[in-house]
Amino acid sequence: MTASDPSVLLQVEDLRVWFDTPTEVVRAVDGMNLTIRRGETVCLVGESGCGKSVTGLALMRLIDPPGRIQEGSRITFEGNDLLGLSEKQMERIRGNDIAMVFQEPMSSLNPVQTVGAQIVEAVRLHQDVSRKAARAQAEEALALVGMPSPKERMGNYPHEMSGGMRQRVVIAMAIVCRPKLLIADEPTTALDVTVQAQIMELLERLQDEFGMSLLHITHDLGVVAETADRVAVAYGGRVVEEGSAAEIYGHPQHPYTEALLRSIPVLGMTHTQHPLSVIRGMVPGGAHWPSGCRFAPRCDYSFDLCAEYPPMVDLSSGQSAACWLCESGPRSLTTLPTAGLADV
């Protein structure tokens, strides 16, 4: 697939985001490739420290020093090279074409402004409309995100709202300009489980309504199964496996994906049939990646070839994985307890 393919909204090629510390260079994102098509939901999953949040920020060019997006990285949005734009041009894209929802609804709203004022601000940053028209749009956005009595809620301060309501406000701010891509960085992590489901439903509904693409960054594989068109599993600052949710859950090819799935408890599983496994060791951290396959030191299957980084191998129907085990075709696995998750 090439950048000129009109169905491709965003293409990330060889993204490298490094952080300079006084003693070492932390390679938080190091060779990330990702493609998002129009209208699709892509889930970027991985454990803490795999570079998924930094990727999200880099797409918006929100990396502050000491972080740097390295030379040679390419982020193409609708055919435009985002990394070549000026800061002014980037400001026009942020919030208008690409918007972001953050993890912490407690702190992503300004405590001294009413929520109405903050949504109005989001409108007026991009549209030259009257205060009144902006207010109308803001109220409409609040109604869209399922806020009861939006008109009255406009005058509330963030502290007068619950976490779920605040996250709805944050989403309203993000979608009020109808972005083409919404990046949601762990949007439900700080919320109660019941509210989590509501917020996910809301995001899906908004996506259908506006035909926008959604990049959902999460570590919660359960949430992924329900929402994703495609899943990208990140480890060590790169995508190690990519495929549809059914493929990833049914027959994961990369040992890391497999290990992740084996470590989720599923309702009804017993100790004798499916002992819950853990991934040994820890993510080594961006300053100390092993030279070959980054998962090799923690991998049960590692062998001599793993001293060299494996290329991404295309397997059946869009699934691909970066592992030497898959070099000559998909490997077969004993059925995973999570196999049925994606069908729900």
């Binding site: 400001e91 942020r94 919030g95 918007a99 407690m106 601000e121 502290h159 007068e160």
Partner: protein
């Protein structure tokens, strides 16, 4: 950052930027803040006396010989006595207050404007801009303010305006440091990143998101500073670098009274007392404001 705080009503309150009202409402709001009450009363009374001086003053403050020289406190027709030239002390104190309070207040506002501007820019942009601004302010801070005042007065001639200008300039670094620190704290909140992600420019974020969140601190520091600057302008006037005779301000009155203190203690006591009341009043008021606006810092 602290966990969300829940007050008795069960409403979770945001904790960002110290605007968290929970402690203020939960504890301090129920009983009046004593600092604010005492300080506020002093400030309001002093301000009223100054504003209404033309109505309240029994005599022209500069009229010579409206009574015999150096009448004691409580003399008939001259409640607070007269100074060495027979001018009515009460009238001079009332009119002097106008100059002293106005000078202190103007100096505080002036230094706040520049201090907030420089501190916010330095704290928000960080990097080389921050270093340059703060090092220049460090140099300024190493100057004793009296020296700076003498320098300015030497070039521009003594006047209240030049004195307050000197004091305002000398105090910019202190305010800038405090505001820079607060800005460094506020800029780390996720709503600043969120605003950037919505397409807001840096100037916009500074004015719309950072400034309102540092404002509570600015206000409380401002009032503490008014008191501090009243004492400083009075010091300059005392040294003859401020208000020039025959104009009365509390500092010059104190200076003139020096030689006659043994004959009539009242001439020195009253302006000194007024300066004391003003400084204490503004300090308490600023402290009270801080406790209400920044409940987390109140204990310090």
């Amino acid at each position: 950052m602290a966990d969300p705080v829940v007050v008795s009503g069960g409403v979770p309150l945001g904790t960002a930027a110290g605007i968290d009202a929970s402690t203020a409402r939960g504890k301090r709001g129920r009983r009046p803040n004593n600092y604010l009450l005492v300080g506020g009363t002093l400030v309001v009374v002093l301000a009223l006396l100054s504003v209404l001086a033309p109505l309240l003053a029994p005599a022209d403050p500069n009229a010579l010989g409206s009574g015999s020289p150096l009448l004691p406190l409580g003399a008939p027709d001259h409640l607070l006595g007269t100074d060495m030239l027979g001018r009515d002390q009460l009238s001079r104190l009332l009119y002097g207050g106008r100059i002293t309070l106005l000078a202190g207040f103007s100096a505080a506002i002036l230094s706040a404007v520049f201090g907030v501007l420089l501190g916010m820019v330095a704290g928000f942009l960080r990097g080389p801009v921050d270093s340059v601004i703060m090092r220049v302010l460090d140099v300024l801070m190493s100057f004793p303010f009296i020296l700076l005042a003498i320098l300015i007065v030497a070039f521009a001639g003594p006047s209240v305006f030049h004195a307050l200008l000197a004091i305002a300039i000398a105090n910019v670094p202190f305010l800038a440091r405090v505001i820079r620190g607060e800005t460094l704290r506020v800029r780390e909140y996720e709503f600043v990143v969120a605003a950037t992600a919505l397409g807001a420019s840096r100037t916009w974020i500074l004015l719309r998101h950072v400034l309102p969140n540092v404002l509570p601190l600015v206000l409380s520091v401002l009032f503490v500073n008014v008191g501090w600057m009243i004492s400083q302008t009075s010091a300059l006037s005392f040294l003859g670098l401020g208000a020039q005779p025959p104009t009365a301000d509390w500092g010059t009155m104190l200076a003139e009274a020096q030689s006659y203190m043994a004959l009539n203690g009242g001439v020195a006591m009253m302006p000194g007392l007024m300066i004391l009341l003003a400084v204490v009043g503004f300090n308490l008021f600023g402290l009270g404001l801080k406790q209400i606006l920044l409940p987390e810092d109140g204990a310090r």
